[in-house]
């Protein structure tokens, strides 16, 4: 009688693998969604940017892959740290963030008429991408210090000022898109912090008043607050035209591209985004490329991956052991969701052209690394709560 030795059924090796990679407490679903998005991004770049740069068909693919690898490693590394320590560093973080944005204003490289980059030896670094997560972390820490007392109007105003200062600097670069994202982050953090509804109403009213007043006063005094192209973009959204030199033209082209993708996409017949209709098709308009190439199937799948990411981020808000973590997560949710909705909305003709990138999809090192950094902090909050449950 021969009986083969049965291998012992055990899940031990799997657990050891998780431990060996020191992935304990990592939210696998969030990691999967993020990895899926960046993989889709690389795939899209591989299929649609072959002829972008003469003789270097894989230029964008290689670089984006490199950013993805660094980004995921960065995320895992950050998740191993104790995020609550950041609270003590809030002043340093805040000053570094404001300082770096100010530095860009002084020494940055102008790309298409706007100072957003700092030239590092190996890399053009865009501090405003990093500023988003740093603002989440530091503003939440400042709020946290005042969390025991009820919010008075003075507190709200001072926190608002603290949050809007870097946003204002970013507007000056001028980078309209990132500035708006920063404002959204500030509002989200304050909202989660629990400032009274009345204060929100007041903020809204003040904003409307200032904008309206500025517009009226500006047109009366013939002063332009927005750069010409910014104004073009915003007004063009309200009144689209066929003029190719016009900003709304890009949106029209993007909408035609997405629509022409139909259910399953045009694959390699995708001409709308492939030819020269859409500038920035590897960055701001990558979603239109996906829509045209892969159709509703691909475009909706991307939205699905984002939805999963949002869900897991919101879940982090709920499971966080500390209110500090909840506020950070709230800021990150706002940052990711706002960027995704505005960028995708722009590609679908729902939103004006603002130059906001699509996190993990748009080509670009600063954007990819900044997003993974934010996800790393979420993972750290998640890991901390997992430790608490055990």
């Amino acid at each position: 009688m021969m009986e083969a030795a049965k291998p012992a059924l055990t899940i031990a090796p799997r657990r050891r693998l998780v431990e060996r990679l020191s992935l304990t407490g990592i939210d696998g679903v969030m990691l999967g969604a993020a990895a899926g998005l960046i993989a889709f991004s690389i795939f899209t770049l591989a299929t649609s940017t072959r002829s972008e740069i003469d003789g270097r068909p894989l230029y964008f693919v290689e670089r984006q892959s490199l950013y993805a690898i660094f980004g995921i490693a960065l995320m895992v590394a950050i998740s191993r740290l104790d995020y609550t320590r950041l609270r003590d560093l809030r002043l340093a973080i805040y000053s570094a963030m404001v300082g770096s944005i100010a530095l860009v204003l002084l020494v940055g490289t102008a790309v298409r008429g706007s100072n957003r980059w700092i030239d590092l030896p190996f890399f053009q670094f865009q501090p405003s991408e990093l500023a988003k997560i740093l603002l989440c972390v530091s503003l939440a820490a400042f709020v946290y210090e005042r969390v025991r007392r009820p919010f008075g109007l003075r507190q709200t105003v001072s926190l608002l000022a603290l949050g809007l200062a870097p946003a204002a600097l970013v507007f000056l670069q001028p980078d309209l898109g990132t500035g708006i994202v920063l404002v959204a982050i500030v509002l989200a953090v304050l909202f989660v912090a629990g400032i009274p509804w009345q204060h929100f109403a007041a903020i809204g009213a003040a904003a409307a008043l200032i904008a309206g007043g500025a517009y009226v006063a500006g047109s009366a005094a013939d002063v332009q607050f927005l750069h010409g192209y910014q104004q073009d973009r915003l007004t063009a959204f309200l009144d689209p035209s066929d003029d190719p030199s016009d900003a709304s033209y890009q949106v029209n082209q993007a909408v035609i591209a997405v629509g022409s993708g139909q259910e399953v996409g045009r694959g390699n017949d995708a001409t709308q985004t492939e030819l020269l209709f859409l500038p920035e098709r590897h960055t701001d308009f990558i979603y239109a490329v996906i829509g045209e190439r892969f159709g509703f199937l691909g475009a909706a799948f991307v939205v699905f991956l984002y939805a999963v990411l949002f869900w897991r981020a919101i879940r982090v808000m709920r499971v966080s052991r500390s209110f500090y973590g909840t506020m950070i997560a709230g800021g990150v949710v706002a940052m990711l969701a706002f960027q995704v909705i505005v960028n995708v909305g722009m590609n679908l003709g729902l939103m004006p052209v603002t130059g906001i990138t699509l996190p993990l999809m748009s080509y670009g090192g600063s954007s990819v690394l900044g997003t993974f950094l934010a996800l790393g902090i979420l993972q750290s909050i998640h890991a901390d709560s997992a430790r608490g449950r055990r």
């Binding site: 003469d54 969390v147 989660v192 912090a193 139909q262 045209e292 939205v303 919101i314 966080s320």
Partner: protein, 631 residues
């Protein structure tokens, strides 16, 4: 305030108010995602067909921006082929209005502008040699008034286009025309081939000569311009453009000075012929010409089919490059090959003496020396010097004639005869070295026993002196003599030197590796080269009348091949210079030129004099001494 109810370490989920805020945030996100999905659904699924139609018909014109083609320069950087721009007026018949009356009206309007009748335009379209569906050039050099009028009124002239195009500019007329080659529109057939995949109908590519061989470098990359047009086809704005990238320049190994001298000497002789001057050590071709020749600029101007055919069909077949496509029997210029076979395969020894009585009886057929001379008892060296046919007839009798061919055929093949010369020109001929098997193959196709001519010893005798079915191109002879001169290396001849980009940086050096190395003993070489040197430099040598006064020793061999009853002989000359340390090999052939020394040798001498910077006919010692320094 929930914040007061909650100490910091208590999980926030306990706070009601926070729950509400998170729920609101979640609701906003869910609503936004839902909005995006709905919009996506509406765009792609509900209205997808509409947008697909928009994407496919855009009111957009893609204009291909043609790059300037790379220039072709000689070895010293002198431009041989450049570009000039011309405004051309093109008519694409398929884009004319479908309605007969409208088409007639448009042709009438166009005719008035151009001063042509409607019938003349139609005739022009019909008679232009052009692929179906390709545009026909009606006029080159459109003046500004006409240009602006047509641009202003484009909607009234569908199918008519005025375009700035690049046209080849041949700086020296017909100089080196055969080597340079021609450009032409890519054919529909070519478009299906892998190397031409990125091209579009109407693109101009190299179709002959080095234009063809190095086309991928010279061609450049077309750019594009997207132009938004309104319903009437008028440009309304530029959407974007990708600039065209100019082609790389091609630097040839040709020296235009030598080329000019060679072509002039051949032209002065007035008979069809060709020459090749080559560096025997590298295979770099210094000059290569064929007569009669043609002016390639003919093809840059509009012409009719009849003109096209007449141009190519002129007497003397001017389009044929006799230097690498013309195969002729070489006559005695073949003897160095026979001599190599005889010495290397030990049919004879270098000092073997044959008694040249002036004629030889081959099984009843008596063959004579050319001119009937009797040279008496001579060795190999002298036989080469005086070009004794009887001596080489004897060698032919000694050689085997097996199916594959005997020693002579083997060595001829080793020297590159009967084979593709591996030159970087597209249409080079292989020539022919007849073997018994070849003879059987050719005549097997005929059933007529009277035509059947099995190989016999007489054929071997004929082959030994380069007569009969032998076909050799001047390029092949230059290559074989180069191998003899350089110690046995069979080079790959080339006219391409290097590829240089527009900024002057060398992209690629063209240095083909030698084809093979022949095992020829030094003794054999020195006997043969010595015989050839005596032929050129010693009184009584076959080319002494032409080369005798040359300031330093060269090794040369004449050839005089019979071309049949009533035809003048084919004249050949091959020369290696200087004799000891070869720098240049020249091969010349002249159809109906008579004795080699009469027609071919003077042309070769002119080329050598130009190469070594000697004044014609004179000898300057210093020039000769410095000759070693010339590349």
């Amino acid at each position: 305030m929930y914040l007061l109810e909650r100490p910091e370490d208590i999980p926030p989920r306990l706070s009601n108010r926070l729950n509400v805020r998170i729920a609101v945030l979640t609701a906003v996100v869910v609503a936004a995602v839902a909005m995006v999905l709905l919009r996506l659904w509406s765009l792609q699924v509900l209205d997808g067909a509409h947008y697909r139609a928009l994407a496919q018909d855009h009111g957009v014109l893609d204009v291909r921006v043609h790059p300037p083609r790379g220039e072709i320069l000689d070895r010293n950087g002198k431009v041989l082929v450049g570009n000039r721009t011309v405004m051309t007026l093109e008519l694409r018949p398929s884009d004319l209005p479908a309605d007969r009356e409208k088409r007639r009206a448009e042709l009438h309007r166009l005719g008035n502008l151009l001063g042509l009748s409607q019938g003349a335009i139609r005739r022009r379209v019909r008679e232009t040699p052009q692929y179906a569906g390709y545009p026909v050039v009606l006029r080159q050099g459109v003046d500004r008034r006409l240009l602006f009028y047509l641009l202003e009124n484009q909607d009234r002239f569908p199918g008519v286009r005025v375009d700035r195009t690049y046209v080849r500019d041949y700086k020296d007329g017909s100089l080196a025309a055969h080597v340079l080659g021609l450009v032409g529109q890519v054919s529909p057939h070519q478009l299906t081939r892998p190397g031409y995949r990125n091209l579009k109908p109407g693109d101009v590519i190299g179709q002959a000569g080095v234009e063809y061989t190095y086309d991928s470098f010279l061609r450049g990359t077309a750019g594009s311009q997207r132009i938004q047009v309104d319903a009437l086809g008028r440009p309304r704005g530029q959407l974007g453009s990708r600039p065209a990238r100019a082609g790389d320049n091609l630097r040839l190994t040709l020296d235009s000075g030598i080329q000019e001298v060679g072509e002039a000497a051949l032209r002065d002789r007035g008979l069809p012929g060709a020459f090749v001057a080559m560096n025997p050590n590298t295979g770099a071709i210094l000059a290569m010409g064929s007569y009669p020749t043609y002016d390639p600029s003919f093809y840059t101007r509009p012409h009719t089919k009849a003109q096209y055919d007449a141009f190519g069909g002129r007497p003397g077949d001017p389009l044929v490059d006799r230097a690498d496509q013309g195969g002729y029997p070489t006559g005695s210029a073949f003897k160095p090959i026979t001599a190599t076979a005889a010495l290397e395969d030990h049919l004879i020894e270098p000092n073997t003496i044959f008694n040249d009585t002036g004629s030889l009886d081959i099984g009843g057929l008596v063959v004579h020396n050319a001119g009937g001379a009797a040279n008496g008892p001579i060795d190999m060296s002298t036989a080469l010097k005086v070009s004794s046919d009887v001596y080489f007839f004897d060698l032919g009798l000694h050689a085997e004639a097996s199916d594959k061919g005997g020693q002579i055929q083997d060595w001829a093949h080793a020297y590159g005869f009967g084979q593709n010369p591996d030159v970087d020109l597209p249409a080079a001929g292989s020539g022919l070295i007849p073997t018994p098997a070849w003879r059987d193959r050719v005549y097997r196709s005929h059933d007529n026993p009277y035509i059947d001519r099995p190989w016999n010893q007489g054929d071997n005798v004929n082959l030994a002196v380069g007569q009969g079915d032998v076909m050799v191109t001047p390029l092949q002879l230059a290559r074989a003599y180069s191998a003899l001169g350089n110690g046995g290396t069979l080079v790959r001849p080339h006219v391409g030197g290097r590829i240089v980009d527009v900024r002057g940086r060398t992209v690629e050096r063209i240095k083909p590796r030698p084809k093979r190395h022949l095992q020829i003993s030094d003794e054999t070489r020195s006997v043969i080269l010595g015989g050839m040197e005596r032929a050129a430099m010693e009184p009584g040598g076959t080319s002494f009348p032409v080369m005798g006064g040359f300031p330093f020793a060269v090794a040369g061999k004449t050839g005089t091949a019979e071309r049949g009853e009533g035809q003048e002989d084919q004249s050949w000359y091959g020369v290696i210079a200087p004799y000891r340390d070869p720098k240049i090999v020249v091969a010349v052939t002249v159809e109906h030129g008579g004795f080699g020394v009469e027609s071919a040798a003077p042309i070769a001498r002119a080329i050598l004099e130009r190469y070594f910077h000697l004044s014609a006919g004179g000898a300057s010692g210093s020039a000769a001494a410095s000759a070693g320094g010339v590349e």
